[in-house]
């Protein structure tokens, strides 16, 4: 990737690698889905040495950048983390013997599919996008070789992360994703981008410190290093696993951008859109929730788990509310991501078997719909030159295909027979049986209705028909279309086949851990399918109405309407009319709710910390 200098070369390389990654993920699925948990032992010594070396080099690089940009917090955190790493490496590593470094089970398969298929689709899209991006922003230095190189490292790190059984390896890939996202967010090298990238870096480094602390704790508890194997740790019981689980979940919370760390993901929208799509859907934040879901069995039924779930729940409700008050499309998407991650963490924190099932389902549906939404918004932004939702009025006329894709993507996020609602529904049913689940049901009821509000008003904006507007989507490149079509197809298809996904991947995984599993009842499934089919047939009614319909201008208080959105004012003046959505900033303003969320979640985390200290002592 780093060598492809010419555009055409790069395009070919990206497409070929993307297809290869996609095929490999599918092959792994085909060969691995019925095998249960497979554990591989690889001779760890040289690999671990190389990893340690890379980590030190990266730490040095970040230290250099931190000093150059005078980011004291980052410098402090990276030094602290490097010290911990050295301490660990020199103090313990000689005695550690971790037999099994890699493993493969249904959950890591799901994650690999998400990273492999969606991630590589985003990369293909990015080729076309970055070309236009640099045409529009002449002032930004063209570092595309680096850009695509990092994208693929990022995706590979995700693969490494989900297949690693050795926690040291998980940590290595964890740090790689942190640094990749840091470099990608700061791609444009503008002041805002640099600041936001350092914000993301600092928050994730804080999580990394917690992760490192967990590793050191484990090494102290068990000097032989058995416990550093994820499978061994998870089956070793709550007494041993709880402390590292909470520390690692803290790292997961920073990575998944839950409150109080949500600001880094919101700030990350300065990056080129494919980066946002990647961060939000298939990599970065998904790594955070992945590790929390992994530890869900340890968390279930503990106070610490409940607190983590409450952090998730609070984030879900408040981020949904904040999304109502935003008119920047990418910001709305960012808050919606944060909200959904919050919900996933809430499920994993409570951690009963049916909630684990819901959490994985949410993760899948969210990844697909969100990547589609981001790529659509990116395309629209390049065409209309704005990411403000208010400027997207009449998109159905100007960019009909994109508008319909966005429509489907949004429907996937909040409308009935589609994925997120299936998960929300299952979540209500699961929370009702969980201890103190009522709090979460209330959170779901209120937060969920906020979701309905901000998505529908956006939907309403793009489908409102403005006359006399030119179609401006014909210049979009073929490969971009291909990616968008595939993702749109996936949103619908995954809804149709999710019972299958559930029965071959999610249910065996949950069954394996808890000894029992769950699913939607057959009757409800068939009704959902019927609704989905009905929904797909309904647009055909438009054909029926083609004839015999008469058009009239909209009602303008009885004044004559002159062309689009103009009416005859008094004294013969033609007046223009503009419509804007409700944002209700007095109720759902970002600043206020963000303050509330940050303080609440910090308080919860501190409480968890105190409990943890109690456990250790």
């Amino acid at each position: 990737m780093l060598v492809g200098r010419k555009d055409s070369e790069r395009k070919a390389i990206v497409q070929i690698s993307a297809v290869a990654i996609g095929i490999v993920s599918l092959l792994v699925l085909i060969f691995g889905y019925d095998k249960g948990t497979l554990i591989f032992s690889v001779n760890p010594e040289p690999v671990s040495q190389i990893m340690f070396f890379i980590e030190l080099v990266l730490a040095g690089y970040i230290l250099y950048l931190g000093i150059r940009h005078r980011k004291l917090l980052t410098v402090f955190l990276i030094l602290f983390q490097a010290c911990l790493l050295l301490y660990f490496e020199l103090g313990f590593s000689r005695n550690l013997h971790i037999g099994n470094n890699l493993f493969l089970d249904q959950f890591s398969l799901i994650m690999a599919l998400i990273a492999g298929i969606i991630g590589s689709l985003i990369c293909v899209y990015a080729v076309g996008y970055m070309e236009t991006y640099h045409d529009h922003h002449k002032e930004i230095r063209d570092r595309r070789s680096l850009f695509f190189g990092i994208l693929f490292i990022f995706i590979s790190a995700m693969f490494g992360l989900v297949f690693s059984n050795n926690l040291l390896w998980v940590f290595f890939f964890w740090e790689i994703t942190t640094i990749c996202s840091f470099l990608l967010i700061g791609y444009s090298q503008s002041e805002e981008a640099t600041n936001n990238s350092f914000l993301a870096l600092s928050m994730n480094l804080l999580g990394g410190v917690a992760f490192m602390a967990a590793l050191i704790y484990l090494a102290i508890v068990d000097p032989t290093g058995q416990l550093l194997g994820l499978n061994y740790l998870l089956s070793s019981g709550k007494a041993v696993a709880l402390v590292p689980a909470v520390l690692i979940c803290f790292a997961g919370i920073t990575k998944a951008a839950l409150m109080p760390f949500s600001s880094w993901l919101v700030g990350a929208m300065v990056a080129p859109t494919p980066v946002s799509a990647l961060l939000h859907s298939s990599t970065m934040v998904k790594a955070g929730v992945y590790i929390i879901i992994r530890f869900a069995p340890v968390l279930s039924g503990t106070t610490e788990g409940l607190i983590i779930a409450l952090v998730g729940g609070t984030t879900f409700a408040l981020a949904s509310f904040i999304a109502i008050s935003q008119n920047n499309a990418k910001k709305v998407l960012a808050y919606s991501t944060i909200a959904n991650l919050g919900l996933i963490v809430a499920c994993a924190g409570v951690g009963t078997y049916n909630l684990m099932w819901v959490a994985i389902l949410l993760l899948i549906f969210h990844a697909i719909a969100k990547s589609l939404m981001f790529l659509c918004v990116g395309t629209v932004e390049h065409r209309i030159g704005s990411r403000n939702i208010e400027d997207m009025g009449g998109l159905i006329v100007r960019m009909p295909k994109i508008a319909i894709m966005m429509f489907i993507g949004m429907a996937g996020m909040f409308l009935a027979p589609f994925g997120m609602v299936i998960s929300k529904w299952a979540a209500i049913e699961a929370f009702i049986m969980a201890p103190v689940g009522l709090i979460f049901i209330a959170i779901l009821a209120f937060g969920g209705s906020a979701t309905v509000f901000f998505w529908s008003k956006w939907m309403g904006k793009i489908i409102s028909v403005m006359r006399d507007q030119p179609v401006i989507e014909d210049t979009i490149k073929k490969e971009k279309w291909a990616v968008l079509y595939i993702l749109t197809g996936l949103v619908v298809i995954v809804c149709l086949i999710f019972p299958l996904i559930s029965s071959i991947l999610i249910e065996p995984f949950v069954l394996n851990i808890y000894g029992q599993t769950t699913r939607l009842s057959q009757a409800n499934l068939s009704i959902m399918l019927m609704m989905l089919c009905l929904l797909m047939i309904m647009p055909l009614s438009l054909l029926f109405y083609r004839k015999g319909t008469k058009y009239a201008p909209p009602y303008m208080a009885g004044r004559p309407v002159e062309g689009h959105m103009r009416f005859a004012g008094s004294m013969g003046v033609s007046r223009e009319l503009e419509l804007s959505n409700y944002y209700m900033t007095s109720l759902f303003g970002e600043e206020r709710l963000f303050m509330v969320g940050t303080s609440l979640c910090w308080a919860l985390l501190l409480f968890a910390g105190i409990l943890l200290v109690g456990v250790i002592l």
Binding site: P435, A445, G460, M466, A523, M538, R546, A552
Partner: protein
């Protein structure tokens, strides 16, 4: 004898066939009672049906063709939601289908891109988010009492649900005011046309489309009152009396209150759901879960 497995389908079919008739009659009675309260004689009982027939005789005039699609979807999914409910389906699924159908109405209003329907659409959305939490809590409450989300089980449980869920019931009655488009919560559109937002969400619909919206409203009436039935399902006689009283109270409120602003609607609906609903559920939860 009809086999057991066909019963849900027959019930759904009966609902789709009869609900508009019942709903239309309710609308007719509503108008008579309202008129009496205002010292008028009021229209004949069957006036809503005459109105509907007239609407369907008119030509189909739209601002944009997609309005047809949205209105049809609104009607279809409203019927589906109700049919699911009356055939004994899952309450949560019913609620989601119900929300879906309303979203279609809202989108239809947005599609025309005109000022009055735009404001109407925004307000309709506000109404949706005002009542949705309470409706979900209602379903959850029913589950906590009967251990099932299925309407068929709830109806046959023989438990006087109302005694367990008085707070939820009051909360439901309040959001019912929003749902029936009664003052003080008739923000998005109202049965009375002379006002600042003209006909709100339905401003740019005419003729057969308006007729379909009307039919969908009738379906909705029957469904909403069906939920009231659930609270009293152990005794049909009491249930019918309760429905009559509940509806009468709604008409009374409609005629005695002026419309409020959206802030007050949203706050009051959420505060009521958060206090009456949640406290009720919390007590129930405590009794069921903590006290064995």
């Amino acid at each position: 004898m009809i086999p057991e497995y066909l019963m849900p389908f027959i019930k759904a079919f009966l609902y789709i066939l009869l609900a508009p008739v019942v709903g239309g009659l309710i609308a007719g009675i509503d108008r008579r009672v309202t008129a009496r309260m205002q010292g008028r004689v009021g229209p004949p009982l069957l006036q809503p049906f005459y109105d509907l027939a007239k609407l369907f005789e008119k030509e189909n005039l739209v601002v944009t063709a997609s309005q047809n699609f949205f209105v049809l979807s609104y009607l279809v999914f409203m019927a589906v939601a109700g049919a699911l409910f009356f055939s004994g389906g899952d309450m949560l699924l019913v609620i989601f289908a119900f929300t879906l159908s309303h979203i279609f109405l809202v989108l239809g209003a947005y599609a025309s891109y005109s000022p009055y329907s735009h404001v109407g659409a925004e307000r309709e959305l506000l109404q949706i988010i005002s009542y949705e939490p309470m409706i979900i809590l209602t379903a959850v409450g029913m589950y906590m009492v009967t251990r099932s989300f299925f309407v068929s089980t709830i109806v046959t449980s023989n438990i006087p649900i109302i005694l367990y869920l008085p707070g939820v019931f009051i909360g439901y009655l309040i959001v019912l005011t929003i749902k029936l488009r009664k003052s003080p919560f008739d923000l998005s559109t109202s049965h009375h046309a002379h006002q600042e937002l003209v006909k709100g969400v339905t401003t740019d619909f005419g003729g057969p489309n308006l007729g379909k919206i009307e039919i969908a409203h009738w379906y909705e009436y029957v469904f909403l009152l069906g939920v009231v039935w659930l609270f009293f399902a152990w005794n049909p006689l009491i249930a019918i009396v309760a429905i009559i009283i509940a509806y009468f109270i709604e008409i009374l409120i409609d005629n005695t209150f002026a419309r409020v602003k959206w802030q007050l609607m949203l706050r009051s609906a959420w505060i009521i759901a958060g206090t009456l609903g949640l406290v009720n559920l919390g007590v129930l939860y405590y009794l069921r879960m903590v006290v064995p």
